[in-house]
Amino acid sequence: MGLFVDILLSGVAQGMVFAAVALGLVLISRATGTINFAQGAMGMFTTFIAFSLLTHGVGYWPAFVAALAMGFVLGAVVERTLVRPLRGKPALNPVIVTIGLLIVLEGVAGSIWGNVARGFPAAFSQRGLVIGTTRVAFSHFDVFIVCAVAALVVAIVALFRWTDLGLRMRAAAFSPEVSQLLGVRVGRLFTLGWALACAAGSLAGLLVAPLSSFSPYYMDLNLVYGFTAAVLGGLLSPVGALVGGLVTGLAIAFVGGYVGPDLQPIAALALLLVVLMVRPQGLFGTTEVRRV
């Protein structure tokens, strides 16, 4: 029973991180119909910037906020310089560009910070909480992870549902040409979509760094899990990303806990395969809005 609860709780915390990665993928997929394979690498890069700030004596929270802001800027710059010029070209072109960006970012990070694994500090204690007399596998930091990602999802959903800006973003995503004819500055909204997505990626990077061996490649596997989560959620729905993240996190945790951690990536790929075969539009997608 204790093992089951521990696995469940760690699965929730991990799942929230995957949800943050998935949310970034969903935002970009909605904005420009692209799958951003550099989503994890961009989060990795900005987390390394936070790491540099921390080693230069900057406080944790200023470094945290700076990394989020850098993610926002990096996303906007990538959209403007690498993705925008490919508009109107085959849909695969920007996808290939993001794979290139993934390799470049990991290479550059390796040459700046070295390809060694290190530790990254957590915002709060990583020791399990004590409930009654037992210590569970859920720390203060895990609580922070859950709250931070939940807040992000709520903010994004609120933006899309209840603001004029969100309405414009949805319209631009669904029907860019009609939106342009209504005076909507579609290009700017695509840039904003990428910027928000990469800020979400930075958040994922910051949250997962203390849980992993922090090297330029630490987000690779998280991208695989995040991608599984995004596809599970239907690729276009922020709530779908959250649910997809949780399902993926729990699946990974149970496979890791009962079968063995080596099988976790294979379990994620199996899950991805099953979703694509049984329900390719995802749990929250409909066939007609699925574009990728």
């Binding site: 309405l167 414009r168 029907s175 004819l181 209504l182 005076g183 809005v289």
Partner: protein, 235 residues
């Protein structure tokens, strides 16, 4: 007022428009007729900035349209109602209309402008919270026209507004258009396959064939010319 001079558009080697010149005045409906592939849709898409022209100019109130981006042209008060699928099916009726209010209205004017459309088209008001994908063809056409009107444009560019509508609904649509232009002083460029109904409401008509204007005349005179009708208008 819209002034088009010597407008030419090519898609690769294909000439879509060649030296097209005409004027469209405020409060009047100018209809553009011709067979499929005559260049009618290309003309509207060029005026609204979706297609780049290679030669000639289009001006609206003296301001150039050619070379500007569609969102800027929309903000100038030129509302292009595209053919067929102009409804954003993933949004509700209300959201579609609200989207039309952002570019040219101040925040406080927006709600009232949407409500005016509901008054004009009560069927849309009844379905305001529904997804636009649930609307019938006629209701969709009302929605796209309402969405164009909500921005209080000065010039409407309408691409086949009667496409897929029953004759009765189509006639209502034309009557509404006539009313809007006469009352509000709105100018309209009306592209139609259904030449008979377009000629019945228009103040001026031009006929395109293979990208060139072959005739420009009063609608009544055009409708009376039997050989022209048979050659280009198909009735």
């Amino acid at each position: 007022m819209l002034q088009v001079e010597e407008l030419s558009v090519r898609y690769g080697q294909v000439r879509a428009l060649e030296g097209v010149s005409f004027e469209a005045r405020d409060g009047r409906i100018t209809t553009v007729l011709g067979a499929n592939g005559a260049g009618k849709t290309t003309l509207l898409r060029t005026l609204s900035g979706l297609v780049r022209n290679q030669a000639g100019t289009a001006r609206f109130d003296g301001q150039p349209l050619t070379g500007r981006r569609p969102e800027i042209i929309a903000r100038m008060g030129v509302a292009h109602v595209p053919e067929g699928r102009g409804v954003i099916a993933e949004l509700t009726v209300d959201e579609n209309l609200r989207l039309g209010t952002f570019s040219r209205l101040r925040r406080v004017e927006r709600r009232a402008a949407v409500d005016e459309v509901y008054e004009r088209f009560p069927q849309l008001g009844d379905r305001r919270r529904r997804s636009a994908s649930t609307l019938s063809g006629g209701e969709r056409q009302m929605l796209v026209i309402g969405r164009a009107l909500v921005s209080r444009p000065r010039l409407l560019l309408l691409d086949e507004p009667s496409l897929g509508l029953s004759p009765i609904v189509s006639a209502q649509m034309m009557a509404t258009l006539r009313e809007l232009t006469s009352e509000a002083g709105l100018g309209a460029v009306l592209v139609e396959q259904n030449a008979r109904s377009a000629l019945s409401v228009a103040d001026w008509a031009i006929v395109l064939n293979l990208g060139r204007i072959v005739v420009a005349d009063e609608p009544a005179r055009l409708a009376a010319d039997e050989s022209l009708r048979r050659h280009y208008l198909g009735f």
